[in-house]
Symmetry: C2
Subunit: 206 residues, 2 copies
Protein backbone atom coordinates (compact mmCIF):
# COMPACT_ATOMS: atom_id res chain seq x y z
CA UNK A 1 0.00 0.00 0.00
CA UNK A 2 1.36 3.46 -0.84
CA UNK A 3 2.50 5.48 2.14
CA UNK A 4 2.30 9.03 0.82
CA UNK A 5 3.57 10.49 4.07
CA UNK A 6 6.76 8.45 3.68
CA UNK A 7 7.49 9.67 0.14
CA UNK A 8 9.20 12.85 1.32
CA UNK A 9 9.57 14.84 4.52
CA UNK A 10 6.26 16.64 5.08
CA UNK A 11 4.79 19.09 7.46
CA UNK A 12 2.04 17.72 9.71
CA UNK A 13 -0.53 19.68 7.64
CA UNK A 14 0.65 18.16 4.38
CA UNK A 15 0.49 14.69 5.90
CA UNK A 16 -3.06 15.33 7.05
CA UNK A 17 -4.02 16.60 3.59
CA UNK A 18 -2.50 13.48 1.99
CA UNK A 19 -4.37 11.22 4.36
CA UNK A 20 -7.61 13.08 3.65
CA UNK A 21 -7.07 12.71 -0.12
CA UNK A 22 -6.26 9.04 0.23
CA UNK A 23 -9.43 8.49 2.27
CA UNK A 24 -11.53 10.44 -0.28
CA UNK A 25 -10.04 8.45 -3.16
CA UNK A 26 -10.82 5.11 -1.46
CA UNK A 27 -14.37 6.18 -0.63
CA UNK A 28 -14.96 7.42 -4.17
CA UNK A 29 -13.49 4.27 -5.71
CA UNK A 30 -15.69 1.94 -3.62
CA UNK A 31 -18.81 4.04 -4.20
CA UNK A 32 -18.26 4.08 -7.97
CA UNK A 33 -17.60 0.34 -8.20
CA UNK A 34 -20.78 -0.30 -6.24
CA UNK A 35 -22.88 2.01 -8.42
CA UNK A 36 -21.44 1.48 -11.87
CA UNK A 37 -19.65 -1.86 -11.66
CA UNK A 38 -15.94 -2.54 -11.98
CA UNK A 39 -15.70 -2.18 -15.75
CA UNK A 40 -17.29 1.28 -15.85
CA UNK A 41 -15.22 2.67 -12.97
CA UNK A 42 -12.39 4.91 -14.23
CA UNK A 43 -9.51 6.85 -12.68
CA UNK A 44 -11.14 10.00 -14.07
CA UNK A 45 -14.41 9.16 -12.34
CA UNK A 46 -12.71 8.40 -9.05
CA UNK A 47 -10.71 11.67 -9.19
CA UNK A 48 -13.80 13.75 -9.97
CA UNK A 49 -15.81 12.18 -7.17
CA UNK A 50 -12.97 12.45 -4.67
CA UNK A 51 -12.38 16.09 -5.60
CA UNK A 52 -8.72 15.51 -6.44
CA UNK A 53 -6.75 15.78 -9.65
CA UNK A 54 -6.17 12.67 -11.77
CA UNK A 55 -2.46 13.21 -11.25
CA UNK A 56 -2.86 12.83 -7.49
CA UNK A 57 -4.14 9.31 -8.09
CA UNK A 58 -1.48 8.48 -10.66
CA UNK A 59 1.23 9.73 -8.29
CA UNK A 60 0.32 7.00 -5.80
CA UNK A 61 -1.10 4.21 -7.96
CA UNK A 62 -0.16 2.98 -11.44
CA UNK A 63 -3.63 1.76 -12.46
CA UNK A 64 -7.32 1.51 -11.65
CA UNK A 65 -6.82 -2.07 -10.47
CA UNK A 66 -4.09 -0.94 -8.06
CA UNK A 67 -6.11 1.83 -6.43
CA UNK A 68 -9.15 -0.44 -6.16
CA UNK A 69 -7.13 -3.23 -4.63
CA UNK A 70 -5.84 -0.83 -1.96
CA UNK A 71 -9.35 0.51 -1.39
CA UNK A 72 -10.63 -3.01 -0.79
CA UNK A 73 -7.68 -3.91 1.42
CA UNK A 74 -8.44 -0.79 3.45
CA UNK A 75 -12.13 -1.75 3.63
CA UNK A 76 -11.27 -5.27 4.78
CA UNK A 77 -8.93 -3.77 7.38
CA UNK A 78 -11.75 -1.55 8.68
CA UNK A 79 -13.98 -4.60 9.12
CA UNK A 80 -11.53 -5.46 11.84
CA UNK A 81 -12.39 -8.98 12.84
CA UNK A 82 -9.79 -10.29 10.43
CA UNK A 83 -7.03 -8.23 11.90
CA UNK A 84 -3.31 -8.76 11.94
CA UNK A 85 -3.70 -10.73 15.16
CA UNK A 86 -5.53 -13.56 13.41
CA UNK A 87 -8.85 -15.13 14.41
CA UNK A 88 -9.74 -15.23 18.12
CA UNK A 89 -8.36 -18.22 20.00
CA UNK A 90 -9.99 -18.67 23.40
CA UNK A 91 -9.46 -22.43 23.23
CA UNK A 92 -13.17 -22.91 22.40
CA UNK A 93 -13.14 -23.50 18.64
CA UNK A 94 -16.94 -23.47 18.21
CA UNK A 95 -17.34 -20.21 20.12
CA UNK A 96 -14.47 -18.56 18.25
CA UNK A 97 -15.79 -19.59 14.85
CA UNK A 98 -19.31 -18.44 15.71
CA UNK A 99 -17.91 -15.05 16.68
CA UNK A 100 -16.01 -14.76 13.40
CA UNK A 101 -18.89 -15.98 11.25
CA UNK A 102 -21.40 -13.69 13.00
CA UNK A 103 -19.07 -10.75 12.36
CA UNK A 104 -18.78 -11.83 8.72
CA UNK A 105 -22.59 -12.00 8.47
CA UNK A 106 -22.83 -8.43 9.81
CA UNK A 107 -20.22 -7.30 7.32
CA UNK A 108 -21.96 -8.98 4.36
CA UNK A 109 -25.27 -7.41 5.43
CA UNK A 110 -23.70 -3.94 5.62
CA UNK A 111 -24.23 -2.04 2.34
CA UNK A 112 -20.89 -0.22 2.74
CA UNK A 113 -19.17 -3.59 2.44
CA UNK A 114 -21.74 -5.54 0.45
CA UNK A 115 -22.25 -3.26 -2.54
CA UNK A 116 -18.63 -2.70 -3.67
CA UNK A 117 -17.46 -6.20 -2.72
CA UNK A 118 -20.35 -7.75 -4.63
CA UNK A 119 -19.47 -5.70 -7.73
CA UNK A 120 -15.81 -6.66 -7.46
CA UNK A 121 -16.62 -10.34 -6.95
CA UNK A 122 -18.99 -10.39 -9.94
CA UNK A 123 -16.24 -8.94 -12.14
CA UNK A 124 -13.71 -11.48 -10.86
CA UNK A 125 -16.14 -14.30 -11.68
CA UNK A 126 -15.98 -13.46 -15.40
CA UNK A 127 -12.47 -11.92 -15.56
CA UNK A 128 -9.97 -14.63 -14.54
CA UNK A 129 -6.97 -12.27 -14.32
CA UNK A 130 -8.73 -9.80 -12.08
CA UNK A 131 -10.26 -12.63 -10.07
CA UNK A 132 -6.85 -14.25 -9.53
CA UNK A 133 -5.27 -10.99 -8.38
CA UNK A 134 -7.98 -10.24 -5.85
CA UNK A 135 -8.10 -13.82 -4.58
CA UNK A 136 -4.34 -13.77 -4.08
CA UNK A 137 -4.12 -10.35 -2.42
CA UNK A 138 -7.48 -10.05 -0.67
CA UNK A 139 -9.28 -13.37 -0.15
CA UNK A 140 -6.51 -15.92 0.36
CA UNK A 141 -4.81 -13.95 3.19
CA UNK A 142 -8.17 -13.95 5.00
CA UNK A 143 -8.59 -17.68 4.40
CA UNK A 144 -5.10 -18.27 5.78
CA UNK A 145 -6.30 -16.90 9.13
CA UNK A 146 -8.78 -19.79 9.23
CA UNK A 147 -5.99 -22.20 8.32
CA UNK A 148 -3.94 -20.90 11.25
CA UNK A 149 -6.85 -21.13 13.70
CA UNK A 150 -7.82 -24.63 12.55
CA UNK A 151 -4.20 -25.79 12.68
CA UNK A 152 -3.92 -24.54 16.27
CA UNK A 153 -7.18 -26.36 17.08
CA UNK A 154 -5.79 -29.51 15.51
CA UNK A 155 -2.66 -29.26 17.66
CA UNK A 156 -4.91 -28.82 20.70
CA UNK A 157 -6.86 -31.96 19.76
CA UNK A 158 -10.06 -30.12 18.79
CA UNK A 159 -9.83 -31.01 15.10
CA UNK A 160 -9.34 -34.59 13.94
CA UNK A 161 -5.83 -35.53 12.83
CA UNK A 162 -5.73 -35.90 9.05
CA UNK A 163 -8.27 -33.14 8.39
CA UNK A 164 -6.85 -30.62 5.90
CA UNK A 165 -7.48 -27.15 7.38
CA UNK A 166 -7.41 -25.53 3.92
CA UNK A 167 -10.36 -27.71 2.89
CA UNK A 168 -12.10 -27.63 6.28
CA UNK A 169 -12.34 -23.84 6.29
CA UNK A 170 -14.45 -24.01 3.13
CA UNK A 171 -17.23 -25.69 5.14
CA UNK A 172 -17.63 -22.36 6.93
CA UNK A 173 -16.72 -19.83 4.26
CA UNK A 174 -18.30 -21.63 1.26
CA UNK A 175 -21.92 -21.80 2.48
CA UNK A 176 -21.76 -18.23 3.81
CA UNK A 177 -20.44 -16.91 0.49
CA UNK A 178 -23.02 -18.96 -1.42
CA UNK A 179 -25.91 -17.40 0.53
CA UNK A 180 -24.41 -13.96 0.24
CA UNK A 181 -23.64 -13.96 -3.48
CA UNK A 182 -26.73 -15.84 -4.70
CA UNK A 183 -29.09 -14.47 -2.02
CA UNK A 184 -30.73 -17.89 -1.63
CA UNK A 185 -31.75 -17.37 2.02
CA UNK A 186 -31.25 -14.73 4.74
CA UNK A 187 -27.80 -14.40 6.28
CA UNK A 188 -28.36 -14.40 10.06
CA UNK A 189 -26.44 -15.07 13.25
CA UNK A 190 -28.58 -18.18 13.84
CA UNK A 191 -27.47 -19.47 10.45
CA UNK A 192 -23.81 -18.76 11.27
CA UNK A 193 -24.15 -20.71 14.53
CA UNK A 194 -25.85 -23.67 12.88
CA UNK A 195 -23.21 -23.77 10.17
CA UNK A 196 -20.46 -24.00 12.78
CA UNK A 197 -22.26 -26.84 14.58
CA UNK A 198 -22.84 -28.81 11.36
CA UNK A 199 -19.33 -28.30 10.04
CA UNK A 200 -17.66 -29.17 13.34
CA UNK A 201 -19.75 -32.22 14.10
CA UNK A 202 -21.04 -33.31 10.69
CA UNK A 203 -24.57 -34.30 9.81
CA UNK A 204 -24.24 -38.07 10.21
CA UNK A 205 -25.20 -39.68 13.57
CA UNK A 206 -22.25 -39.80 15.98
CA UNK B 1 -40.96 -24.05 -21.48
CA UNK B 2 -42.55 -23.36 -24.88
CA UNK B 3 -43.56 -26.44 -26.78
CA UNK B 4 -43.66 -25.20 -30.36
CA UNK B 5 -44.84 -28.54 -31.69
CA UNK B 6 -47.93 -28.35 -29.49
CA UNK B 7 -48.95 -24.85 -30.63
CA UNK B 8 -50.74 -26.12 -33.73
CA UNK B 9 -51.03 -29.35 -35.72
CA UNK B 10 -47.79 -29.70 -37.70
CA UNK B 11 -46.33 -32.02 -40.21
CA UNK B 12 -43.35 -34.07 -38.96
CA UNK B 13 -41.07 -31.87 -41.10
CA UNK B 14 -42.38 -28.66 -39.54
CA UNK B 15 -41.91 -30.13 -36.07
CA UNK B 16 -38.35 -31.07 -36.90
CA UNK B 17 -37.68 -27.59 -38.27
CA UNK B 18 -39.11 -26.03 -35.09
CA UNK B 19 -36.99 -28.25 -32.91
CA UNK B 20 -33.90 -27.36 -34.96
CA UNK B 21 -34.65 -23.65 -34.58
CA UNK B 22 -35.24 -24.00 -30.86
CA UNK B 23 -31.93 -25.85 -30.47
CA UNK B 24 -30.09 -23.22 -32.57
CA UNK B 25 -31.63 -20.41 -30.50
CA UNK B 26 -30.58 -22.02 -27.21
CA UNK B 27 -27.04 -22.66 -28.49
CA UNK B 28 -26.73 -19.10 -29.79
CA UNK B 29 -28.11 -17.62 -26.56
CA UNK B 30 -25.67 -19.56 -24.35
CA UNK B 31 -22.71 -18.83 -26.62
CA UNK B 32 -23.47 -15.10 -26.66
CA UNK B 33 -23.93 -14.87 -22.90
CA UNK B 34 -20.62 -16.65 -22.43
CA UNK B 35 -18.79 -14.38 -24.86
CA UNK B 36 -20.37 -10.99 -24.28
CA UNK B 37 -21.95 -11.28 -20.84
CA UNK B 38 -25.62 -11.15 -19.94
CA UNK B 39 -26.10 -7.39 -20.33
CA UNK B 40 -24.70 -7.26 -23.87
CA UNK B 41 -26.68 -10.26 -25.13
CA UNK B 42 -29.71 -9.19 -27.21
CA UNK B 43 -32.62 -10.91 -28.95
CA UNK B 44 -31.24 -9.47 -32.22
CA UNK B 45 -27.84 -11.00 -31.56
CA UNK B 46 -29.30 -14.38 -30.68
CA UNK B 47 -31.48 -14.39 -33.81
CA UNK B 48 -28.57 -13.46 -36.07
CA UNK B 49 -26.31 -16.13 -34.60
CA UNK B 50 -29.02 -18.79 -34.67
CA UNK B 51 -29.87 -17.93 -38.30
CA UNK B 52 -33.54 -17.29 -37.52
CA UNK B 53 -35.70 -14.19 -37.71
CA UNK B 54 -36.22 -12.08 -34.60
CA UNK B 55 -39.95 -12.81 -34.92
CA UNK B 56 -39.29 -16.54 -34.52
CA UNK B 57 -37.84 -15.83 -31.08
CA UNK B 58 -40.60 -13.40 -30.10
CA UNK B 59 -43.24 -15.95 -31.17
CA UNK B 60 -42.00 -18.34 -28.49
CA UNK B 61 -40.56 -16.07 -25.78
CA UNK B 62 -41.63 -12.62 -24.54
CA UNK B 63 -38.15 -11.39 -23.54
CA UNK B 64 -34.43 -12.02 -23.50
CA UNK B 65 -34.66 -13.17 -19.89
CA UNK B 66 -37.31 -15.74 -20.82
CA UNK B 67 -35.36 -17.28 -23.70
CA UNK B 68 -32.18 -17.37 -21.61
CA UNK B 69 -33.98 -18.98 -18.70
CA UNK B 70 -35.24 -21.75 -21.00
CA UNK B 71 -31.79 -22.13 -22.53
CA UNK B 72 -30.27 -22.61 -19.07
CA UNK B 73 -33.03 -24.99 -18.00
CA UNK B 74 -32.34 -27.00 -21.14
CA UNK B 75 -28.59 -26.95 -20.37
CA UNK B 76 -29.20 -28.13 -16.81
CA UNK B 77 -31.47 -30.87 -18.15
CA UNK B 78 -28.70 -32.03 -20.52
CA UNK B 79 -26.28 -32.30 -17.62
CA UNK B 80 -28.48 -35.18 -16.59
CA UNK B 81 -27.34 -36.02 -13.10
CA UNK B 82 -30.00 -33.79 -11.64
CA UNK B 83 -32.82 -35.50 -13.52
CA UNK B 84 -36.51 -35.70 -12.77
CA UNK B 85 -35.82 -38.87 -10.82
CA UNK B 86 -33.95 -36.95 -8.10
CA UNK B 87 -30.52 -37.75 -6.71
CA UNK B 88 -29.41 -41.39 -6.61
CA UNK B 89 -30.52 -43.32 -3.53
CA UNK B 90 -28.67 -46.60 -3.12
CA UNK B 91 -29.00 -46.41 0.65
CA UNK B 92 -25.32 -45.37 0.91
CA UNK B 93 -25.52 -41.61 1.47
CA UNK B 94 -21.77 -40.97 1.23
CA UNK B 95 -21.44 -42.90 -2.03
CA UNK B 96 -24.50 -41.22 -3.54
CA UNK B 97 -23.31 -37.72 -2.62
CA UNK B 98 -19.82 -38.41 -3.97
CA UNK B 99 -21.35 -39.51 -7.26
CA UNK B 100 -23.44 -36.34 -7.48
CA UNK B 101 -20.62 -34.00 -6.44
CA UNK B 102 -18.16 -35.64 -8.86
CA UNK B 103 -20.68 -35.18 -11.67
CA UNK B 104 -21.11 -31.54 -10.62
CA UNK B 105 -17.32 -31.08 -10.66
CA UNK B 106 -17.22 -32.47 -14.22
CA UNK B 107 -20.02 -30.13 -15.25
CA UNK B 108 -18.36 -27.06 -13.70
CA UNK B 109 -15.08 -27.96 -15.42
CA UNK B 110 -16.84 -28.29 -18.82
CA UNK B 111 -16.60 -25.01 -20.78
CA UNK B 112 -20.01 -25.61 -22.41
CA UNK B 113 -21.55 -25.37 -18.95
CA UNK B 114 -18.99 -23.21 -17.16
CA UNK B 115 -18.78 -20.23 -19.51
CA UNK B 116 -22.48 -19.30 -19.88
CA UNK B 117 -23.38 -20.27 -16.31
CA UNK B 118 -20.53 -18.19 -14.93
CA UNK B 119 -21.69 -15.16 -16.96
CA UNK B 120 -25.28 -15.61 -15.79
CA UNK B 121 -24.24 -16.03 -12.17
CA UNK B 122 -22.04 -12.91 -12.28
CA UNK B 123 -24.99 -10.88 -13.58
CA UNK B 124 -27.30 -12.28 -10.90
CA UNK B 125 -24.76 -11.29 -8.24
CA UNK B 126 -25.18 -7.59 -9.10
CA UNK B 127 -28.78 -7.65 -10.44
CA UNK B 128 -31.05 -8.79 -7.58
CA UNK B 129 -34.17 -9.21 -9.77
CA UNK B 130 -32.41 -11.37 -12.31
CA UNK B 131 -30.63 -13.25 -9.53
CA UNK B 132 -33.90 -13.97 -7.73
CA UNK B 133 -35.57 -15.25 -10.89
CA UNK B 134 -32.76 -17.62 -11.76
CA UNK B 135 -32.38 -18.84 -8.18
CA UNK B 136 -36.12 -19.56 -8.02
CA UNK B 137 -36.43 -21.28 -11.39
CA UNK B 138 -33.02 -22.84 -11.87
CA UNK B 139 -31.01 -23.22 -8.65
CA UNK B 140 -33.59 -23.83 -5.93
CA UNK B 141 -35.23 -26.79 -7.77
CA UNK B 142 -31.77 -28.41 -7.93
CA UNK B 143 -31.19 -27.73 -4.24
CA UNK B 144 -34.56 -29.29 -3.43
CA UNK B 145 -33.25 -32.58 -4.83
CA UNK B 146 -30.62 -32.49 -2.09
CA UNK B 147 -33.31 -31.71 0.47
CA UNK B 148 -35.25 -34.79 -0.68
CA UNK B 149 -32.21 -37.07 -0.60
CA UNK B 150 -31.11 -35.82 2.84
CA UNK B 151 -34.65 -36.13 4.20
CA UNK B 152 -34.80 -39.74 3.00
CA UNK B 153 -31.41 -40.35 4.65
CA UNK B 154 -32.71 -38.81 7.85
CA UNK B 155 -35.71 -41.15 7.81
CA UNK B 156 -33.32 -44.07 7.26
CA UNK B 157 -31.25 -42.98 10.28
CA UNK B 158 -28.22 -41.84 8.26
CA UNK B 159 -28.62 -38.15 9.12
CA UNK B 160 -28.96 -36.94 12.70
CA UNK B 161 -32.48 -36.03 13.84
CA UNK B 162 -32.78 -32.27 14.15
CA UNK B 163 -30.43 -31.50 11.26
CA UNK B 164 -32.12 -29.13 8.79
CA UNK B 165 -31.60 -30.62 5.32
CA UNK B 166 -31.95 -27.21 3.66
CA UNK B 167 -28.96 -25.97 5.65
CA UNK B 168 -27.03 -29.25 5.52
CA UNK B 169 -27.00 -29.30 1.71
CA UNK B 170 -25.07 -26.04 1.73
CA UNK B 171 -22.09 -27.86 3.27
CA UNK B 172 -21.78 -29.68 -0.05
CA UNK B 173 -22.98 -27.09 -2.55
CA UNK B 174 -21.47 -23.99 -0.89
CA UNK B 175 -17.78 -24.98 -0.91
CA UNK B 176 -18.05 -26.39 -4.45
CA UNK B 177 -19.63 -23.17 -5.72
CA UNK B 178 -17.07 -21.08 -3.83
CA UNK B 179 -14.15 -22.88 -5.54
CA UNK B 180 -15.86 -22.73 -8.89
CA UNK B 181 -16.84 -19.06 -8.90
CA UNK B 182 -13.72 -17.64 -7.22
CA UNK B 183 -11.30 -20.21 -8.68
CA UNK B 184 -9.46 -20.46 -5.36
CA UNK B 185 -8.27 -24.06 -5.88
CA UNK B 186 -8.74 -26.83 -8.47
CA UNK B 187 -12.12 -28.57 -8.59
CA UNK B 188 -11.34 -32.30 -8.58
CA UNK B 189 -13.03 -35.60 -7.76
CA UNK B 190 -10.71 -36.01 -4.79
CA UNK B 191 -11.93 -32.68 -3.44
CA UNK B 192 -15.56 -33.71 -3.93
CA UNK B 193 -14.94 -36.92 -2.00
CA UNK B 194 -13.17 -35.15 0.84
CA UNK B 195 -15.95 -32.57 1.07
CA UNK B 196 -18.54 -35.33 1.48
CA UNK B 197 -16.49 -36.98 4.24
CA UNK B 198 -15.97 -33.71 6.13
CA UNK B 199 -19.59 -32.59 5.82
CA UNK B 200 -21.01 -35.97 6.82
CA UNK B 201 -18.70 -36.57 9.76
CA UNK B 202 -17.57 -33.07 10.72
CA UNK B 203 -14.05 -31.97 11.49
CA UNK B 204 -14.13 -32.36 15.30
CA UNK B 205 -12.89 -35.62 16.85
CA UNK B 206 -15.68 -38.21 17.14
Amino acid sequence: MPEPQAASPRTPDATRRSERSRRAIFDAALALVGEAGYARTTIEGIAARAGVGKQTIYRWWPSKAAVLLDAFLDLAGQAGEEGAGGLPDTGDLAADLKLVLRATVDELNDPRFDVPTRALTAEGVVDPDLGARFVERLLEPQLQLYVERLTAAQEAGHVRPGVDPRIALELFVGPLTHRWLLRTRPLTHAYADELVEYALHGIAPR
